[in-house]
């Protein structure tokens, strides 16, 4: 479904992504971990073309993301994204945040979009906040709205860019629960996170990155039991033993 093939990306002379080869299949949950600055977020943001790749090929549903002829807005309809800092629209209500893209991009009627939005708000457990402004919500609630906003487009893929890193520790659970439920329903998910518990429990595959490279790809049981790469061992020992 998502195929990186020999992808490189440079910021000037600095290489952010090095020879990335990665295939993500339909229904798979892939968790990308690694130290800060390792290129995890950049990798994720290339998938929906928030970042462009310098060379190599990257396809989503067999459509090239970097090809100038590709209608990027059409491609993005199929890819929901959840950000570290939520990025809800502060001047719109929760409901309007969710209905905006379905109405403008998919051409849904106001009524239809609202119905779908309410369905997803119920799913993430905050239907009662439909008419609140984002600023009246806690971080965890805002992130759940952001997930509902992504889902309302009925995408084939959901991207999560450190979705719990900006949250109070107490609120991480409620967001992870929504993500777990989504994974169990068979959504294709690519998740950049530091939540090792989530990765171990939900991921079909762990991708470990460092300095722009994928150093290791393994199923969670193997990865956590014994990572092959020294750098991955060091990384795990540092974050698990504190």
């Amino acid at each position: 479904m998502i195929v990186f093939s020999q992808v490189n990306k440079f910021y000037g002379d600095f290489q952010v992504l090095k020879d990335i080869n990665l295939t993500i299949n339909k229904g798979e949950v892939v968790v990308v971990i690694g130290p800060s600055g390792s290129g995890k977020s950049t990798l994720l943001r290339c998938i929906n073309h928030l970042e462009s790749i310098s060379n190599g090929t990257l396809t989503v549903n067999e459509v090239s993301v970097s090809d100038k002829k590709t209608d990027i807005n059409k491609l993005r309809k199929e890819i929901g994204m959840v950000f570290q800092h939520f990025h809800l629209y502060p001047h719109k209500t929760v409901l309007q945040n969710i209905t905006l893209a379905p109405m403008k991009v998919l051409g849904q009627s106001d009524e239809e979009a609202k119905k779908i939005a309410m369905k997803y708000l119920e799913k993430v457990g905050i239907a009662e906040k439909a008419n609140a402004l984002p600023s009246q919500l806690s971080g965890g609630q805002q992130q759940r709205v952001a997930i509902a906003r992504g889902l309302a487009m009925n995408p084939e893929i959901m991207l999560f860019d450190e979705p719990t890193s900006a949250l109070d520790p107490e609120m991480i659970g409620e967001v992870l629960d929504v993500m777990k439920a989504l994974a169990h329903e068979g959504m294709t998910m690519v998740v950049v996170t530091h939540e090792m518990g989530f990765a171990r429990e939900v991921a079909d595959r762990i991708v470990f990155m460092d300095q722009g490279q994928i150093l290791e790809e393994a199923i969670p049981a193997e990865f956590y039991a014994e990572p092959k790469e020294e750098r991955a061992k060091l990384f795990l020992s540092r974050i698990l033993n504190h």
Binding site: N48, L50, N73, K74, R76, K77, I79, G80, M81, F83, H85, H87, L88, Y89, P90, H91, L100, A101, K104, V105, L133, S135, A146, R149, G150, M153
Partner: protein, 211 residues
């Protein structure tokens, strides 16, 4: 103070007041729309548009308004009021574009990314997500520009625009009561600009509350 100057020439003052008001309102609306457009050109992700926007702003804000008005008046077969108002729009647009651009740049980058990643086009994201937020931030500097615009409209007098200042020039030339005439004309300008100031202040408070 010779109030007879005011009462005897009330019809002229009111005629000038009307022209200044009409010219200012038209220029205000037009330069707001055009300013938003030029601001978006300056930050759009296409270099040629950026260059055009920058060239527009740097050219028109760096030459005197009087030169712009005279040029429009002399090049095109237009009446003073029309040429003057167009000149006012061209000039004010450059300043408003800069104010709006600053406002847009103050909106976190993530807002545009969230909007674009949901499939909205650049212009949809700008219109629906970015500009409504930017406008709140831009209200105070826009208020300044609007007040300047009203006062700048006095240059219409130079091309027989029939505005307040033009009428004042006529009255003072005829009556020689120069001081009185211009004090009265100042009052008429205050009648326009003070409510504008208060209106902008009110808007600022109301929008601040809505967030």
């Amino acid at each position: 103070m010779n109030f007879a100057i005011l009462t005897e020439n009330m019809d002229l003052f009111l005629e000038g007041f009307k022209i200044t008001l009409i010219s200012s309102v038209i220029a205000l609306i037009a330069s707001l729309l055009l300013g938003a457009f030029i601001a978006v050109l300056r930050i759009a992700p296409y270099k040629p548009l950026n260059w055009f926007g920058t060239a527009y702003v740097e050219f028109f804000r760096n030459i005197p308004l009087l030169v712009i008005m005279l040029s429009v008046y002399l090049i095109f077969p237009l009446k003073g009021i029309t040429a003057g108002t167009i000149g006012l729009i061209i000039y004010t647009t450059a300043f408003i574009a800069e104010a709006i651009r600053a406002g847009i740049l103050s909106i976190p980058k993530g807002q545009l990314e969230a909007a674009r990643s949901s499939g909205l086009t650049y212009s949809q994201a700008m219109r629906i997500v970015i500009l409504p937020q930017a406008i709140k931030i831009v209200i105070p500097p826009l208020g300044n520009q609007f007040i300047n615009l009203v006062k700048n409209s006095a240059l219409l007098a130079a091309i027989a625009g029939g505005d307040l200042m033009y009428q004042a020039d006529l009255i003072s030339a005829r009556t020689f009561a120069t001081m009185d005439t211009y004090i009265f004309v100042a009052m008429f300008y205050l009648v326009l600009t003070i409510p504008l100031s208060l209106g902008v202040g009110y808007l600022e408070k109301r929008l601040a509350k809505s967030n």
